[in-house]
């Protein structure tokens, strides 16, 4: 047992360096002597500095005349190796995304997986650790970060996520974010912060938040133990999709029925080069969890897989329709409608494509994909 906080505080209040008037006066005298000695040193220091400067100048001139062609251009560290269709960012790095957003990892154990990074959708996963997200304001782009069961969607803001076990602390520094978890959803404004899922809904009991407990002399509980990687889930959460899919497929480890698990399994399949195997998982999210906040994103992802990887535009159009109808995000709805137009056109249904294109033009007269919609919808 540790000491009770009050007993500890009372003891610590007795730490008092002994410093009195006499000591002040004595050390003031020493200070004056040290200052006098310092006045003598500058002359010597200037002479030495001059010699050093001349020496460096000679060396530099020599180096300029004979450049080393094998030297790296910038001395920047080698970027981490990237897995297929995703990249993992380790602690100590700044990740810049195509839409201008930035992610700063805040400790050395942080791992962030980039699942999708396009002009329309940015999807990241916080596998472990602590990171700050500075999201560029882009009206027609979905920016979402998954942290276990918790999903944070933003429009243009800055926020910090810290994942501890099955819970995530979300702190908004600028703008607003929408935080969703299996049984709920909440918006946070600038200056607000909280743990998700809420304590009473957490699947695992976490005794007290680390942030709150930092104000006690000792943290409320130990940091969560990192379990050895044995399941496909562990590998998938760390961005090791190839290994995750191998385990999923070969050992037939069951996939649970939660949205998190199904989405993770879908990512493991499609990001390891097995898009067809991801379809089942994504369809289960839509059919088994139609009201979950992540269902529209699952439908959108399904549409992408069907259209771009499996060549099934008709089925893709249906998936995009579900994404558009179920989504509360204006950005996702707009993009889903645009993709519906393209899918209908590719499926040979020009009547549907035109009707959908007219709707897009009506609802989004300055939409980001207006040109493509007009083209696929035959409105040019």
């Amino acid at each position: 047992m540790t000491e009770p906080a009050s007993k500890m505080e009372d003891a610590l209040s007795r730490v008092q360096p002994r410093w009195d008037v006499e000591r002040t006066e004595r050390t003031l005298g020493d200070l004056a002597r040290r200052r006098r000695r310092r006045q003598v040193r500058p002359v010597l220091a200037v002479s030495l500095a001059a010699c050093a400067f001349v020496t460096l100048g000679v060396l530099f001139a020599h180096r300029v005349r004979s450049p080393d062609t094998s030297a790296s251009t910038s001395g920047m560290p080698t970027p981490p190796a990237q897995s297929t269709n995703s990249s993992v960012v380790h602690g100590g790095r700044l990740l810049r995304l195509t839409d201008g957003s930035r992610v700063e990892v805040l400790d050395s154990k942080t791992r962030i997986v980039k699942l999708e990074d396009s002009a329309a959708v940015v999807l990241l996963a916080l596998a472990q650790g602590h990171a700050q997200f500075d999201v560029a304001r882009r009206a027609n782009r979905v920016f979402r970060v998954r942290s276990g069961d918790v999903s944070v969607e933003v429009i243009g803001t800055r926020f910090v996520l810290q994942r501890v076990g099955t819970r995530t602390h979300v702190a908004v520094e600028r703008g607003r974010v929408a935080v969703s978890w299996p049984s709920g959803r909440r918006e946070l404004a600038a200056g607000e912060a909280d743990w998700f899922p809420p304590a009473r809904e957490a699947e695992d009991v976490e005794a007290e938040s680390e942030v709150g407990a930092a104000d006690e002399p000792f943290a409320a509980e130990r940091a969560p133990r990192v379990e050895p990687k044995t399941s496909w889930r562990d590998h998938a959460e760390l961005g090791e999709f190839k290994r995750a899919y191998e385990l999923l497929e070969s050992s037939k480890q069951p996939v649970g029925s939660t949205v998190s698990e199904l989405m993770l399994a879908a990512d493991a399949a499609r990001l390891s080069g097995h898009p067809a195997e991801s379809v089942g998982f994504l369809r289960r999210v839509i059919s088994e969890h139609p009201r979950d906040a992540r269902a529209p994103l699952a439908a959108f992802t399904l549409g992408n897989v069907l259209m771009n990887q499996l060549g099934q535009p008709r089925e893709a159009e249906a998936a995009y329709r579900i994404a558009r109808q179920a989504s509360s995000s204006a950005a996702l709805s707009q993009d889903a409608l645009a993709r519906q137009v393209e899918a209908a056109h590719r499926a040979g249904d020009d009547v549907l494509a035109r009707r959908l294109a007219e709707r897009y033009v009506r609802e989004y007269p300055r939409g980001r994909r207006l040109g493509a919609v007009r083209r696929f919808g035959g409105l040019q």
């Binding site: 047992m1 540790t2 003891a11 008092q16 410093w19 009195d20 002040t24 942030v211």
Partner: protein
């Protein structure tokens, strides 16, 4: 004997009220002479540095180092609160540097003296409190210097979160991260199995 503040960074005037009056009467356009600043703020600097270091051995040098470093800047400051805050930041930096140097020397087996933690414990502390303080400071030895300084400023010096962050010269979120790391480590170290 005028002792450093028990808790919190309250200024203790070491030479009596006349210095306080002199400070009040000094016009805002006049810089504070170094010796006057030293008499006024040395106890405060000693309190911060001594609590972070956990012992008294280097305290004289450390306090002087702070004022030597501050020599040029003090003349530019007019406000007592600004001077105090600034000296506090330099004190934290100087103590962190000393801690790092001590760690290196220890790693190279160049420092043989044991640290006397009792040298900074108040004479009115009970034996139980002394034992607890020594135990805490021994545990603090394994922490990084910045994390240690963060924890000491908050839980020994009694500083507010925002005030401690300013003394550490970092943002509040950075300061809270350091504090959290230190608190987590200390809990593990000081929990009896």
């Amino acid at each position: 004997m005028t002792s450093p503040s028990k808790r919190g960074p309250h200024l203790q005037l070491v030479a009596g009220d006349h210095l306080a009056r002199a400070a009040d009467e000094r016009s805002s356009s006049e810089p504070l002479p170094l010796d006057q600043a030293y008499r006024q703020f040395a106890p405060y600097v000693a309190a911060i540095a001594g609590r972070i270091m956990g012992h008294d051995a280097d305290l004289d040098d450390l306090v002087q180092d702070v004022f030597l470093e501050a020599t040029r800047g003090i003349a530019a400051l007019r406000d007592a609160a600004a001077i105090k805050g600034w000296l506090g930041r330099i004190a934290v930096r100087a103590a962190v540097r000393r801690l790092r140097r001590r760690r290196v020397l220890r790693a190279l087996h160049l420092q043989a003296e044991a640290v006397d933690y009792e040298s900074v414990i108040s004479l009115d502390a009970t034996p139980e409190q002394r034992a607890l303080i020594v135990r805490v400071y021994r545990a603090l030895e394994a922490l990084g210097a910045q994390d240690r300084a963060a924890w000491v400023l908050r839980h020994v010096h009694g500083e507010s979160l925002e005030g401690a962050a300013k003394l550490c010269g970092c943002s509040l979120s950075t300061y809270q991260r350091r504090l959290r790391r230190a608190a987590t480590y200390l809990r593990e170290e000081l929990t009896d199995d």
